[in-house]
């Protein structure tokens, strides 16, 4: 079902008509963003994972009761500080943030595609989607 999953980099197809051309172009960019975002994030998660397991491999974690995440990765600036000191969990968390951002960036790029086509209705629809995600982000932060 999923033929060219991630690793298939060939992008050879013919645009059907001139009208369809821009649509296809945007599809290539969207595919590229999705694949690139997943790959970059996985590199961070993997490297962070190696640091984490190497340093804390023999400690006993307690995931049975919910306690949130360690303080040194509870905000974005803390995560960046943690990366500067090669903290494995901070590197993993940055990878995860990149991963979560990937489909959101995809949505933002679709807006540019619709703008090129002068499809104002769909620019509007795309902006609503982005606003909902933004609202979600703010509400998570506020709580």
């Amino acid at each position: 079902m999923v033929n060219g999953f991630l690793l298939d980099l060939s992008m050879n197809y013919e645009p059907l008509t001139m009208n369809k051309f821009k649509d296809k172009d945007i599809q290539v960019i969207i595919g590229w963003i999705l694949r690139g975002g997943v790959m970059v994030s996985m590199i961070f998660v993997f490297i962070g994972g190696i640091f984490f397991v190497y340093r804390h491999g023999h400690s006993i974690p307690d995931y049975k009761t919910f306690k949130g995440v360690p303080a040194f990765i509870s905000s974005f600036s803390d995560i960046l500080n943690g990366i500067a000191t090669f903290k494995g969990q901070a590197i993993i968390q940055l990878g995860i943030i990149i991963l979560i951002a990937t489909p959101v960036i995809r949505v933002a790029f679709s807006a540019i595609g619709f703008l090129l086509e002068k499809d104002y209705l769909y620019i509007f629809i795309t902006l609503i989607v982005l606003l909902i995600i933004l609202a979600s982000m703010i509400s998570g932060h506020a709580g």
């Binding site: 079902m1 999923v2 033929n3 060219g4 991630l6 690793l7 298939d8 197809y13 059907l16 649509d23 945007i26 599809q27 969207i30 595919g31 590229w32 999705l34 694949r35 975002g37 997943v38 996985m42 998660v45 993997f46 962070g48 994972g49 984490f52 804390h56 491999g57 023999h58 006993i60 974690p61 995931y63 049975k64 009761t65 919910f66 306690k67 949130g68 995440v69 509870s74 494995g88 969990q89 993993i92 968390q93 995860i96 943030i97 991963l99 979560i100 990937t102 489909p103 209705l121 769909y122 629809i125 609503i128 989607v129 909902i132 609202a135 979600s136 982000m137 509400s139 998570g140 709580g143």
Partner: protein, 278 residues
């Protein structure tokens, strides 16, 4: 259990979850959450957070391939993403207040429903009649199949939209892609051809999961020590699954195996939920 043992067990479990999820189309989350909560006694919020992250990885990875083939209906996806992201936002907020054992029971019920859906023989009905909304929103499209273009239109858009809100809520509450519900909305209600509905649903899953993941991330539900082996394992499993599928065409026995595994897991989730163990 030490970090290293936990990481190895979760990596292996997630690999098989990703493999099965990709082969059956149900997604990896449905195996990951029972594995983490029932077997490894991980708090369900952590399990949901990790599963959600893996859902974004697999759906983005495979959407990249689908979009390229030109089957995905990007306009339809974008329009319905209003419904799924709004639902996911609601679901993520609900997850904070709904007791964990209730989440486990809902999880089990949705899991059974998805297993049944994956076994059902589907009948395709393509509609060609344009409605006011389908014309206004430019939702009709065409897709290539055996060197010819098959055109289709979309019906009952309002009904499909509301079903998508529900799919979004479930995705945000349980940390799964809720692909089965999205397919109900698209095949069942809106009469979209299977190829288009599967790829477009997959295309939407990443954004839907991201909308609730931003809440989970800030609430501390996404723990790097758990999410790391889950996301790596599920993604590698899904990649392997996509390679296998190229070679084998019949996957009926696999669907049955998976449906049985999933039913056993869901009964476990419901039982433990009712007993208050989760």
């Amino acid at each position: 259990m030490s970090v290293i043992v936990f990481t190895i067990i979760v990596l292996l479990g997630s690999y098989f979850a990703g493999l099965l999820g990709s082969l059956t189309g149900l997604g990896g989350g449905f195996v990951i959450i029972p594995l983490l909560t029932l077997l490894l006694k991980v708090d369900i919020h952590y399990a949901i957070g990790a599963s959600l992250v893996s859902v974004i990885a697999t759906s983005s990875g495979s959407a990249a391939a689908y979009v390229k083939e030109g089957i995905t209906n990007i306009r339809l996806g974008m329009f319905l993403e209003i419904a799924t992201t709004a639902g996911a936002f609601t679901g993520a907020i609900l997850a904070i207040y709904v007791p964990t054992h209730v989440i486990a029971i809902i999880f089990g019920l949705i899991l059974i429903f998805s297993a049944v859906m994956s076994l059902r023989n589907k009948v395709e009905q393509i509609v060609h009649k344009e409605t006011f909304l389908s014309k206004k929103l430019r939702l009709s499209g065409n897709y290539p199949m055996n060197d010819e273009m098959i055109s289709y239109s979309v019906t009952n858009i309002a009904g499909g939209f509301f079903m998508m809100v529900f799919a979004g809520i479930i995705s945000g509450l349980l940390g799964v892609g809720s692909g089965a519900l999205k397919v109900v909305a698209m095949d069942g209600i809106m009469r979209i051809p299977f190829k288009v509905s599967t790829t477009t649903s997959n295309f939407m899953i990443g954004v839907t999961a991201a909308a609730s993941a931003v809440v989970y991330l800030q609430r501390g539900y996404i723990h790097p020590g758990i999410a790391m082996p889950v996301v790596i394992g599920v993604l590698l499993g899904a990649v392997s699954g996509s390679k296998i599928l190229v070679h084998t065409s019949s996957s009926k026995w696999l669907r049955w195996t998976f449906a049985i595994v999933v039913t056993v897991l869901s009964i476990q989730m419901i039982y433990n939920g009712i007993k208050g163990n989760i």
